[in-house]
């Protein structure tokens, strides 16, 4: 097995929110709660879950855009959860991120060339010519026509913007790229092209991806390993094949059966119909018991009494957080 590049141990990220003017009250939003994750060289790890389950926060924490409230992040044999400025700058060359909305993650007042070359300007000391060459090379890598260099983001279509975003992330030859919903803002025919590009890049440049998505079919197609998150916690973690073949946690089952599929062939792959009622509990005040309890179809008496279960290895490298 290849080497572990990024490893997170028990990381938590809490947000403190103060409100009220006279009687200051503080509430804590537990966005990420004790998550463990291991990413191996050349692997694609997907984090899936519904909106508000903390998957983007987890991504940002791993990239050290946020600093974790507690826990450790190991990157290349180095603990980075408490690294300060100069160390961070060095680390960020190796961990890059592609953001969700290609429209708002590119500065509308800069030309594409300057957007893509910004990381080069910050991190490397290149001459103008070398810079230009590198940007051109990046344009070729992501398959953007070179005449786009002098345009502004508003002149690009959604797919082209996302390509520019990918080029920017690749500018410094990172080891890990965190893809935060790379295609959710795109149309399907464009989506497919961006996905193909991502896959090719991964194979050609030996990249490691952390893919954050709510689209299960995407995870199935791209990822080697999947973690399912619910309310800040990982509820199930396994290899992609295993999760789709044999989902164990009731939430994973519900999530899988809710995918609207296109062809009859896919329908047969999915587990039997499970419909979820109710809403996700607020992360401000998460239940002490299993977080999924209020919506679970298979709940038993035990679940209501016992505290949140731990991740247990049920099969080989298949972890589930459920009492059942």
């Amino acid at each position: 097995m290849s080497q572990i590049v990024l490893k997170a141990v028990d990381i938590c990220k809490y947000f403190h929110r103060k409100h009220g003017t006279l009687f200051r009250k503080e509430t804590v939003v537990k966005a990420v709660e004790r998550v463990n994750i291991e990413v191996r060289q050349g692997q694609v790890v997907a984090i899936i879950g519904e909106s508000g389950c903390g998957k983007t926060t987890l991504g940002c924490t791993l990239a050290r855009i946020y600093s974790p409230t507690s826990g450790e992040i190991w990157f290349d044999g180095e603990e980075i959860s408490k690294s300060q400025k100069s160390d961070l700058k060095r680390i960020r060359r190796k961990i890059q991120m592609v953001f969700q909305d290609p429209g708002s993650s590119l500065n509308p007042r800069h030309k594409i060339e300057s957007i893509i070359s910004l990381p080069l300007r910050i991190h490397l000391d290149l001459s103008k010519r070398e810079m230009k060459e590198r940007v051109m090379e990046l344009f070729d890598i992501v398959d953007l026509p070179r005449d786009m260099m002098v345009r502004y983001p508003s002149a690009l279509s959604g797919g082209e913007k996302q390509r520019a975003g990918i080029a920017r992330a690749l500018a410094l030859n990172p080891k890990i790229v965190i893809l935060d919903e790379p295609t959710s803002a795109l149309d399907v025919s464009v989506q497919a092209k961006v996905l193909r590009l991502l896959r090719e890049l991964q194979q050609n440049l030996q990249l490691t991806y952390i893919l954050i998505t709510h689209n299960l079919s995407l995870a199935k197609n791209l990822a080697d390993e999947v973690s399912v998150m619910y309310l800040g916690r990982v509820v199930e973690m396994a290899e992609t094949e295993a999760i789709f073949r044999n989902p164990l946690h009731p939430y994973t089952k519900a999530l899988l059966s809710a995918i609207p599929v296109i062809t009859q062939k896919e329908k047969q792959i999915l587990p039997a119909e499970v419909t979820l009622d109710g809403d996700i509990p607020s992360p401000e005040n998460p239940p002490k018991t299993c977080p999924f309890l209020s919506r679970c179809q298979e709940r038993r008496m035990v679940c209501e009494k016992s505290p949140c279960p731990d991740l247990v290895e049920v099969e080989e490298s298949h972890y589930v957080r459920c009492l059942i």
Binding site: S189, Q191, N215, L216, P260
Partner: protein, 334 residues
């Protein structure tokens, strides 16, 4: 018009006037909705799905939009030639569920106010004076409130009385969408137009909302026009599906058949573009959506098509029945 058809759109051509020129957004769109069926309208962003629906609803701002050609029949009457008052009456037999539950509810009114006002407006036959008078009457308000509660009950909102006093910000996305569905049901419509009602929702909630919609539609024998870009959703809910590309209808068929065996090269490309669970390789469609200022003269898909030949460039293919109930607008098929 054939028997049992509620909506018939024929040859609808719409141009939008902008500073830069004329956008030819719709070109000869045909659409039928029969009684008791849900018709899907699928396509990518900017292919004219919403414009078609808005024309049907009569909420297309004119200008800038200009209807160049075509007829839109609703229960046998052409909506485009009716007077404003007559159209208003017809309009109330169509319920509309908008796309984004987050922004479609006015944040300064609570759910009760919105529903009660809507109901009183209906009860006063859309006459402003009667409406203002009735609004002040306590008895009317009570009747309307009871009506509102019943509507909320219909869309399976637990504890509807508590919801009445809530503002949209206090509700989750799924709840808001339910309230919007309740609003669409206010006037006992014969047709429900849903414009991507679940795109802003999570998959698990999407499923609940779709089931609710399906239940309502079969319960009261409504017909539905369901606009979406998600083919999987179309498969779940629609009986027949129209595929649109760049302002034209390219294929029409029974949904399952359409998705399992797409005929038009665009539909095939679209179906192949979606990552599948079965792990079949996906591929995109080369090229981009054509420029609406100056769309291709022949088939609008021709510049991106992998099966094109010379004829495609010259002449627009018409929708032709290739199999029972299956229409394709492509030169490959006759």
């Amino acid at each position: 018009m054939k028997h049992g058809e509620i909506v018939t759109i024929r040859d609808l051509t719409i141009h939008l006037t902008t500073i830069d020129g004329i956008l030819k957004v719709l070109d000869g769109v045909h659409l039928d909705i029969r009684e008791g069926e849900i018709v899907g309208l699928v396509g990518e962003t900017g292919c004219g799905k919403s414009i078609t629906a808005k024309t049907l609803l009569g909420i297309l701002p004119r200008p800038p939009a200009q209807i160049m050609n075509g007829e839109v029949y609703f229960f046998g009457r052409d909506l485009l030639v009716l007077s404003k008052k007559q159209r208003e009456e017809m309009k109330h037999r169509i319920g509309y569920i908008p796309q984004d539950p987050m922004t479609s509810l006015n944040p300064v009114f609570n759910v009760g106010q919105v529903l009660v006002d809507n109901l009183i407006w209906r009860m006063s036959n859309m006459n402003l004076l009667i409406y203002l008078y009735k609004r002040r009457s306590k008895r009317m308000r009570e009747i309307a409130e009871a009506g509102a509660l019943e509507l909320l009950h219909k869309v399976h909102i637990p504890n509807p009385r508590a919801i009445l006093g809530k503002y949209p910000v206090e509700l989750s996305g799924g709840m808001r969408q339910r309230v919007l569905i309740a609003m669409a049901l206010v006037g006992n419509p014969a047709l429900l137009v849903a414009d991507e009602p679940t795109t802003a929702l999570d998959v698990t909630i999407q499923k609940v909302i779709l089931e609710l919609l399906l239940e309502k539609i079969t319960e009261v024998k409504l017909s539905g026009l369901y606009i979406t870009h998600d083919l999987g959703v179309a498969r779940l809910i629609c009986n027949r599906t129209y595929v649109m590309y760049a302002g034209t209808v390219v294929e029409l068929a029974e949904t399952r058949g359409l998705l399992d065996n797409p005929l038009h090269p665009y539909t095939r490309g679209l179906v192949n573009s979606i990552p599948k669970l079965s792990g079949v390789r996906y591929e995109g469609i080369p090229g981009n959506v054509p420029d609406y200022f100056n769309p291709p003269k022949g088939c609008r898909f021709y510049p991106r098509c992998d099966k094109r030949w010379d004829d495609c460039e010259k002449e627009r293919p018409l929708l032709r029945e290739v199999q029972e109930g299956r229409f394709v607008a492509c030169k490959l098929f006759g």
